[in-house]
Amino acid sequence: MGINPYTPYPVTIKRVVVENEDKDIKSFELVFTNPEHEKAFNYLPGQFAEISVWGYGECPIGMASSPTEKGILRFTVKKTGGVVTTALHNLQPGRQIGVRGPLGNSYPVNEIKGKNIFIIGGGFAFTTLRSLLTYLIHPDNRNNYADITVIYGARSPGELIYKDEIALWQQRDDLNVYITVDKADEHWDGLEGFVPTIAEQVIKSWDNGVAFVCGPPIMIKFTIPVLLKAGFPPELIYTSLEMRMKCGIGKCGRCNIGPKYVCKHGPIFTFAELQQLPSEY
């Protein structure tokens, strides 16, 4: 981070990809205007940054790219109806915006070496999991981890994001990839069923695994019991929380859950940590 933690780095939008059928999820690929800034922007999967659209403000978005992807920063943003995401969705490649970060903690990519990895995602929340997966399967890193299983689902085939990459992942023989949709259409030949159901079929035992669960609250709510039943200790189930954030550095005071600030102590929490916190999120 720069000297002033409130000042974003100027970046340029290089590419915009519409990710879903509803066209309300877009990926933005950004390049730094100043190469010095890129060097300073050291991040790990799971961290987030504040994206600035000048004149509209900032919003916190998890990084979808992996630090192993040099030269590019990718954010996948859903148009929620908020001021900034709406403005961002109207921007074309070439436009200059700002990025402030990296902020928050990250997935424990070093602590989980040697373990079996379970990545479980639902809908649009797959973004930082994509970062994690891309990091793990990078040739420099892949050997540090044992089996990697990906379970990813969306409401319908059109709502799955990163479709091109999913196809590549499915071709790899060092990944177990399960892609599911809540409701199939006539062209869909993959799995059909909710993520927790698929997880229950796939994950039979803990087996020195660590799980990363991101998705809509209802999906998380039903997936965690599946993992606990399979024998996962709560300390090895990770999830990423969302809160309204402004400063991103633990000062503006709105993203706390009990004494924990999501922007600072999070956004990644283990299920064990969440059990200690009031249910106010």
């Binding site: 000042t7 109806g81 908020g82 400063c247």
Partner: protein
């Protein structure tokens, strides 16, 4: 310790104004608040405490974080203050609140540049409280009317003079600058100083026992007692906007032509919009949750993160709450109930 005679106080302030921008309590539109003075005559000396919090000098209600010229696209910070500042007449409770804010704005070594640009540039001349108000409860939160903590220089009003004590290195430097105006204290004056200090502490009669409160609160998030307090709360921001330790803020862009400025301004946990997410989800949709957040933040969460209560007992929220929802009553009730 030395003395400055009351009739020389004007010279004292004039001397300071040669070297510093001096901020002192003045009367502005019916209320006493800190402002930069241009003559010593503006200074109000007969005050129990200022209406507005003096922390607004360091963390103003609204400030510009940076500006962007859209043609250049490079954020530019506003200039930093150059002349050192003296805050004259700040009360011990408020000086203490600055130490609390220091912790927030320096959390984990991430310094807030705007706050510290002002903070490091300022010298606090603290005025001991010889006439505390009935709503003051500083002694309950680990301070007192003559608390020297956080002061650079400490002043106590005696019948005919002010006792003046340098506390910090910065304070000593100022002490030297005004040395010509100072006199040694007589035995009698020293005695009356000790007497005044004792008397001031005795005068604080609204003691709230907070022993063990933060530990107790840790298990009380879901306690039914929280159903009581919020009923009369109208959800305005008076308590937080006047509280010297409240520091929540919001950030917003304002655009004018080709310029965008990003400002930050006080926000308030009593407002429903404070935590509203753009998806429409609000983790604290009810006033009950918001009142609980305010109390828990000050008396439990803050203690957990910084080892200290985020309340200095200045009583501003008590004096100004439109519905007389008294924080002391809430605390007493929390101490009473079974955890």
């Amino acid at each position: 310790m030395k003395l400055i005679k009351k009739n020389r106080l004007k010279d004292f302030l004039n001397t300071l104004m040669n070297y510093y921008d001096v901020f002192a309590p003045v009367l502005k539109h019916k209320k006493i608040r800190f402002q930069k003075i241009s003559t010593p005559e503006e200074v109000i000396l007969e005050y129990s405490n200022t209406h507005n919090k003096p922390t607004e000098l360091f963390f103003p209600q609204c400030e510009v974080l940076f500006e962007v010229d859209l043609k250049e696209n490079i954020p530019e910070q506003p200039p930093k203050p150059d002349k050192p500042v003296i805050v004259f007449g700040i009360r011990p409770c408020d000086a203490r609140s600055l130490q609390i804010l220091d912790k927030v704005f320096h959390w984990d070594g991430v310094d807030d540049p705007y706050y510290f640009a002002r903070r490091n540039n300022a010298i606090l001349i603290v005025m001991g409280c010889t006439e505390p108000r009935s709503t003051c409860f500083c002694t309950s939160v680990g301070s007192g009317p003559m608390d020297h903590n956080g002061a650079d220089l400490f002043l106590t009003e005696l019948p005919e003079a002010y006792a003046i004590e340098p506390v910090s290195e910065k304070g000593k430097a100022v002490f030297e600058q005004v040395n010509d105006l100072l006199e040694d204290a007589t035995e009698g004056e020293l005695k009356s100083l000790a007497e005044l200090t004792r008397r001031a502490e005795q005068m604080i009669d609204s003691e709230v026992n907070l022993n063990g409160l933060s530990d107790k609160l840790r298990g009380m998030f879901d306690h039914p007692v929280w159903d009581e307090f919020h009923l009369s709360c109208i959800g305005c921001g008076t308590c937080t906007y006047l509280c010297p330790t409240c520091h929540c803020f919001d950030i917003l862009d304002e655009k004018k032509g080709n310029y965008v400025r990003r400002i930050r301004f006080w926000d308030c946990c009593m407002y429903p919009y404070f935590t509203l997410q753009s998806s429409g989800h609000n983790p604290r949709p009810t006033q009950k949750q918001r009142v609980r957040q305010r109390v828990m933040h000050k008396f439990q969460y803050f203690v957990e993160n910084f080892g200290e209560i985020a309340c200095v007992g200045c009583g501003r929220c008590i004096l100004n709450c439109p519905v007389n929802l008294d924080i002391r009553s809430i605390l007493k009730r929390l101490m009473e109930v079974k955890g």
